[in-house]
């Protein structure tokens, strides 16, 4: 849990403005990963993380809104302005959108090109194998390397448990719809595996990010309540 506490402290420093704003996802992801470590899930720590995570996400969301009339977005390429300022973030966001468009375009090119297949390798025996200088020992070592790498990777594969973040998001929304405001910990009742808990937690984070739910907490470490966010008319 030491790793988790460190990750949480880092997030809190960031929230307090003691550390420059950086891409949020890796920091949150490492905290969530540390939370999902060995041993039983610590619900109190989960609450603390949700609390910090929600506030960071809300602030990030505000910064990503288009600038209000009268304010000026930083011209592209201009790196001035405090790091993490709204102007810089707006510039970054528009830059990011351009690359999203470029990626879409590449997708179209890829589609076109994927319909054409190169030759399956004619009679290319003439050309040397590329194995020159490589020994049997190199081959064995290569297998050892890839085999060892493949093992730690295995547990990262999604277990065959029929539970996904999407499904869990739907379940949480349905429950909030029928019950109104629900206490955060109540959303985890009856969940028996760590995976269920982590997935529920991720579903909540995602719902907050999408602006679908509202999270209310009177003060730090007090009970957290979750409710549906009504669309403002």
């Amino acid at each position: 849990m030491e790793a988790f506490d460190e990750a949480l402290a880092a997030l809190e420093r960031r929230l307090a403005g003691e550390e420059p704003e950086e891409p949020l996802d890796p920091a949150l992801a490492s905290a969530v990963a540390a939370l999902g470590g060995d041993g039983p899930l610590d619900l109190e720590r989960a609450v603390a993380l949700l609390s910090v995570g929600v506030r960071l996400l809300e602030r990030r969301a505000r910064l990503l809104l288009p600038p209000e009339p009268g304010t000026r977005a930083a011209p592209p390429g201009e790196e001035e302005g405090a790091p993490g300022s709204a102007e810089e973030l707006a510039g970054r966001l528009s830059e990011y959108r351009s690359f999203r468009e470029a990626a879409e375009l590449l997708r179209r090119y890829e589609e076109l090109q994927a319909g054409r297949f190169p030759g399956g390798g004619g009679d290319a025996a003439a050309a040397g194998t590329g194995l020159e200088g490589l020994t049997l020992e190199d081959l064995v070592r290569a297998f050892q390397r890839v085999w060892e790498q493949s093992r730690p990777a295995a547990p990262q594969e999604i277990p065959r448990e029929a539970i996904t973040v999407e499904a869990c998001m739907d379940a949480v929304l349905a429950r909030l719809q029928s019950e109104g405001e629900v206490e955060f910990t109540a959303l985890f009742e009856g969940q028996t595996t760590r995976r269920q808990v982590v997935v529920t937690f991720l579903a909540l984070l995602e719902l907050v990010r999408l602006g679908r739910v509202r999270v209310r907490q009177e003060r730090a470490f007090a009970a957290i309540f979750v409710s549906l966010r009504r669309n403002e008319p």
Binding site: G119, G120, G121, G122, A126, A127, G130, L131, L139
Partner: protein, 172 residues
């Protein structure tokens, strides 16, 4: 339609990494065997013309396109030009195929954790691996194994001479 079928067969034989049996062509083209035979004959005749550099041949296992023999010197000159050594990624892929054969592309990718289509194509081109069959699974994917050239390079008489996998920390 006849010339459409001939074109289709040309495309299929061009893309295939191994000879394609007649039955498989009939299946994929969705045409009658007689039609496929006729289209194959037409394709063979057309490619035999002076203006083409490739030809259709029936070899063990089916039909395949080859470059014409008279161009062998130039083809060899083109291909022989400093083919780079296998990259670490390619060597890893080769090692997985060697120890796990017969194995599908997907199975190799599961072990390596990354896509391997390009590397597998490279290994096929270098004749270090070959298609040894098809897996009886949806899509009937190719099964890959190593070639005699692979054994020859490492001085192995046969695959049993590969160092046993149990010596490879944790067993395969």
């Amino acid at each position: 339609m006849r010339s459409g079928l001939r074109a289709l067969i040309e495309a299929l034989l061009f893309a295939a990494p191994e000879p394609v049996p007649l039955g498989r062509l009939v299946e994929v083209c969705g045409a009658a065997e007689g039609e496929v035979r006729a289209a194959l004959a037409a394709l063979a005749e057309h490619l035999a013309g002076e203006e083409h550099g490739i030809e259709l041949a029936e070899v063990a296992g089916g039909y395949r396109l080859f470059t014409k023999r008279r161009f062998a010197p130039q083809v060899e000159a083109l291909l022989a030009e400093g083919r780079p050594r296998l990259s670490p990624a390619a060597l890893e892929t080769l090692a997985v195929i060697a120890y796990r054969q017969p194995v599908t592309r997907l199975e190799v990718e599961e072990v390596r954790g990354v896509q391997c289509d390009h590397i597998i194509r490279q290994l096929l081109e270098r004749q270090l691996i070959r298609v040894v069959g098809r897996k009886e699974a949806p899509g009937r994917p190719f099964l890959y194994g190593t070639t005699p050239l692979f054994l020859e390079h490492f001085g192995l008489r046969d695959l049993s001479e590969l160092p046993p996998p149990e010596r490879l920390g944790g067993g395969a």
